[in-house]
């Protein structure tokens, strides 16, 4: 899902009158120094990354002076959190915390409806807290037809023991605002963890806003690139490029996630990085199980299924081959109902453009296996275009398994290394 980083989430909160700490973004230690000077007091410097647990990773530091803030920002900006560099930090006033609370509106997968959550302990993992202290978590189902107003939130908060009526009103107002954000921006989760109570009032010390990927196009004002689901990190440029393949075109899908963008995992585990494309995720997982023990590691996960047009296959193939570290390409279909001749045409167009000098014959070992509708046509198309002639290229048909495909790829790779020296 698309997730806003903290300062973007806080900007949304401010628009909906949820109080947030004073703060400023900084992209350099010098900017952090200026921001800390402007805040005139102790500050906190927070890495603006999507990865969770940034505190434990050294992404949050406190500073009493602007000079300390500059040094802290320098350290954080030199860090990699979750494998990705920190490009920006948020410099914020340090809060004197009296109490921390948890407030959220999210989607309940069971009821397929939104729920509001109020927790008496903030700054914790809500799932863990639910296990340990279920009596401190209060949940309210929301009817999307009715909506969720301040008076609904008040009814919910009446179940919370020990809340003063003035506090109850303030929290209810924030919960209603969170619901408004949830609806307005097609969110999956809008969370304040923690909402901090200070002597001066309440402020959202953190902000998490997760938006439904399929609704991003409805919110151009947020400036989010449509991308593939990258989990708890920002999407890579290739994932954004892949995300745009399906933009505005419902016919089939092309999904690509970079599992190991710099092939660091593959290198550390003595595996050979390869490009990977399957038709059907079940096939992709089975093939992964077969190829991994042979010494290879797919650095991307690409699924092109649901009968995508050839042009989508073409785009996906270009993306897979653009990865700098791959030393082979493996493309296998499950027992596909989709038109595999279309799949083949997309790959052929991509190969002919990427390798104009050889007429589409790649420089790395490639194994393709077509199983399903029009699979024989798909195999013949590669022969017709003269690509199958390559010594390190093979196209298999339906009487093959993931195991035999993986073994054939292994044979091609070893032959390629033996005869050319590889990369």
């Amino acid at each position: 899902m698309a997730r806003l980083v903290e300062y973007e989430g806080k900007t949304l909160f401010e628009k909906h009158r949820i109080p947030v700490p004073k703060g400023k973004m900084a992209s350099s230690p010098e900017e952090a120094l200026e921001a800390a000077r402007a805040l005139e007091g102790p500050v906190v410097i927070k890495a603006q990354v999507l990865s969770g647990k940034r505190g434990k990773a050294g992404g949050i530091k406190f500073a009493d002076t602007p000079e300390e803030a500059e040094k802290a920002a320098e350290e954080i900006l030199a860090e990699k959190i979750g494998g990705f560099p920190v490009k920006k930090v948020l410099v914020e006033e340090k809060l004197n915390i009296d109490r921390e609370l948890y407030l959220a509106v999210t989607s309940n997968a069971s009821t397929r409806a939104p729920i509001a959550i109020f927790g008496l302990s903030g700054g914790m993992d809500i799932e863990e807290e639910k296990e340990k202290n279920p009596d401190k978590i209060f949940v309210e189902d929301i009817s999307i037809l009715h909506g969720f107003y301040q008076f609904d939130a008040l009814n919910m908060l009446r179940r919370v023991p020990g809340l003063a009526s003035t506090d109850m009103n303030r929290y209810a107002s924030i919960l209603a605002s969170l619901y408004n954000i949830y609806r307005q921006y097609d969110c999956k989760l809008v969370e304040i963890n923690p909402l901090v109570v200070t002597a001066g009032g309440i402020v959202a010390a953190d902000a998490r806003v997760d938006i439904d990927d399929d609704a991003i196009w409805r919110h151009p004002d947020l400036g989010i690139d449509i991308s593939e689901e990258a989990g708890a990190r920002e999407p890579t440029l290739l994932e954004i490029a892949a995300g745009q393949i399906d933009d505005g075109d419902h016919r089939g899908s092309a999904h690509l996630v970079q599992i190991d963008p710099d092939a660091d995992y593959a290198k550390r585990h003595n595996k050979i990085p390869i490009g990977y494309n399957c038709v059907g995720t079940g096939c992709a997982i089975t093939l992964f199980d077969e190829i991994y023990p042979l010494g290879y590691y797919p650095v991307d996960f690409c699924d092109t299924s649901g009968n995508p047009p050839s042009i989508k296959m073409y785009a996906a193939t270009k993306i897979v081959f653009s990865q700098p570290h791959i030393q082979g390409y493996l493309m296998v279909t499950g027992m596909a109902a989709q038109l595999l001749d279309n799949t083949a045409r997309g790959i052929i167009k991509a190969l002919k453009e990427l390798y104009p000098e050889t007429g589409g014959k790649p420089n790395i070992p490639c194994l393709l296996c077509f199983r399903g509708r029009s699979d024989e046509v798909a195999v013949k198309l590669f022969e017709e275009h003269g690509i199958s002639d390559s010594p390190y290229f093979n196209v298999l048909g339906r009487f093959n398994t993931e195991k035999s495909a993986a073994e054939e790829f292994d044979r091609l790779y070893k032959k390629w290394v033996k005869e050319t020296g590889g990369f």
Partner: protein
């Protein structure tokens, strides 16, 4: 003077361009045959010996053209090289520029 270019945009955002001068010199008209493959609803027909659209451009963009690229591939093999399909991928271009700045090379150029 008759038109020299036939160009239209597909649902995927690809631009398909026929160089009709080359098409005039093409004997096979392989694109027409390729466009009439089983399962693929045709969008091309021959009019006065040249490829022409069977539908208006709005219908083509709405999905009449299935983006199968069969016309271009057939033209490359059996025609006169008059069909080109371009598909913009700005983010991929940006990625490739970034790779160059890092001193890296995409796998297909290694």
């Amino acid at each position: 003077m008759s038109e020299q270019i036939l160009e239209f945009t597909t649902m995927a955002g690809a631009t398909i361009r026929f160089d009709l001068i080359k098409c005039d010199a093409c004997e096979s008209k392989a694109c027409i045959e390729a466009d009439h493959l089983p399962f693929l609803g045709p969008v091309l027909e021959l009019q006065d010996g040249r490829p022409a659209l069977m539908w208006d451009r709005a219908e083509i963009k709405r999905g009449k053209c299935t983006d199968c690229v069969a016309c271009e591939l057939a033209c490359q093999l059996y025609g006169n090289g008059g069909v080109t399909i371009t598909y913009p991928m700005p983010k991929l271009d940006e990625f490739l520029e970034g790779l160059e700045e890092q001193g890296l090379t995409p796998a297909y150029k290694r």
